[in-house]
């Protein structure tokens, strides 16, 4: 009885070993990434990204946007007021 059991074990042993090895290799592999997960805590410093260029870029953008808008508005206003003066002058000339 015991001999028969040993024979069976000897026959299936290679298959069990192969199965265990394959399972171990598959389990050790990291799963394929099926999506990106944003950080939720203070893991942000992992890359040690320098802050100064980001702060400089933010301040520069604010100044450029503000000065740019003032300049754009001023140009539009000057153009419209000049046109208004011309049209008003034409109207007054016609009245005379």
């Amino acid at each position: 009885m015991l001999d028969r059991l040993l024979v069976i074990m000897r026959r299936i042993a290679p298959a069990v070993l192969i199965l265990l090895a394959v399972t171990t290799i598959v389990a050790a592999q990291s799963p394929a990434q099926d999506g990106f997960v944003p950080v939720t805590g203070n893991e942000a410093d992992v890359e040690k990204l320098p802050a100064a260029p980001l702060v400089f870029a933010a301040y520069a953008f604010v100044w450029v946007a503000m000065i740019g808008y003032v300049f754009s508005l001023w140009r539009r206003l000057v153009r419209v007021e000049r046109e208004l003066t011309d049209v008003t002058a034409r109207l007054e000339a016609r009245r005379r």
């Binding site: 944003p38 950080v39 939720t40 203070n42 893991e43 942000a44 992992v46 890359e47 990204l49 802050a51 100064a52 980001l54 702060v55 870029a57 933010a58 301040y59 953008f61 604010v62 100044w63 946007a65 503000m66 808008y69 003032v70 508005l73 001023w74 539009r76 206003l77 419209v80 007021e81 046109e83 208004l84 049209v87 008003t88 034409r90 109207l91 016609r94």
Partner: protein, 222 residues
């Protein structure tokens, strides 16, 4: 003949320019934030722009509602001016925010409640400005409805961080600011406020000049 408001523009712009020029030195006096460090200093420009963007949206919404009710051109001019300001301030918020987030959250952008709703509101005011630019005759009424809709998003944006757990700091951050940080923030808020007031007055003047020009052309054609 220039109005008193128009005469205030150079004063407001001058004060704002001086305050913005001094802002880096004033900000430098504020203490570093414990977890975020240097990058937290983006907050001193990001928060005033966000706050005034919401104020500009409310001004646009109220002026639009007044225009829909009474059809007064003055209300429409204020609505246009405030909508354009909301677009400029929104662009500042949506650019400085990701620059800050890249360092403190390790991401440029997260589709969470506060950021997404701010982006949606910015798109609504872009739609308002585009409608006014290309909508032709009658676009004042359509854009006024858009302005009221844009204003309706303001409470949702403000309370979004308290209603949902998000990465964005809560509304309790500013009231709880230490004095050293609070006075620096106040400096930047006032600088932004002067700039916004000056630009609002100028933009209203532009819109009323355009209306006068349209009327003058009609008289020339007659």
């Amino acid at each position: 003949m220039r109005s008193t408001a128009t005469r205030l523009v150079p004063i407001l712009l001058g004060l704002s320019a001086v305050m913005f020029a001094a802002a880096p030195y004033v900000i430098d006096t504020a203490p570093y934030e414990a977890t975020m460090g240097l990058v937290q200093r983006i907050f001193y420009f990001h928060f005033p722009a966000a706050m005034l963007m919401l104020v500009a949206s409310v001004v646009c919404g109220v002026a639009s509602a007044l225009y829909l009710w009474r059809r007064r051109p003055g209300a429409d001019h204020v609505a246009v001016a405030a909508a354009e300001l909301a677009v400029v301030l929104g662009a500042i918020v949506l650019v400085t925010g990701p620059l800050w987030a890249r360092k403190s959250w390790n991401v440029w952008w997260v589709w969470e409640a506060r950021i997404t709703s701010t982006f949606v509101m910015w798109m609504v005011f872009n739609a308002y400005v585009l409608l006014r630019r290309f909508g032709g005759v009658g676009s004042e009424v359509l854009s006024a409805a858009v302005g009221v809709f844009g204003m309706a998003l303001v409470p949702f944006i403000y309370w979004s961080v308290n209603m949902w757990r998000t990465l964005h700091p809560l509304t309790t951050v500013v009231p709880k600011l230490p004095v050293d940080m609070g006075r620096v923030l106040l400096w930047c808020v006032i600088a932004f406020l002067f700039w916004c007031l000056a630009l609002l007055i100028l933009r209203v003047r532009l819109e009323s000049a355009r209306r006068e020009l349209d009327e003058a052309y009609l008289m020339v054609e007659d």
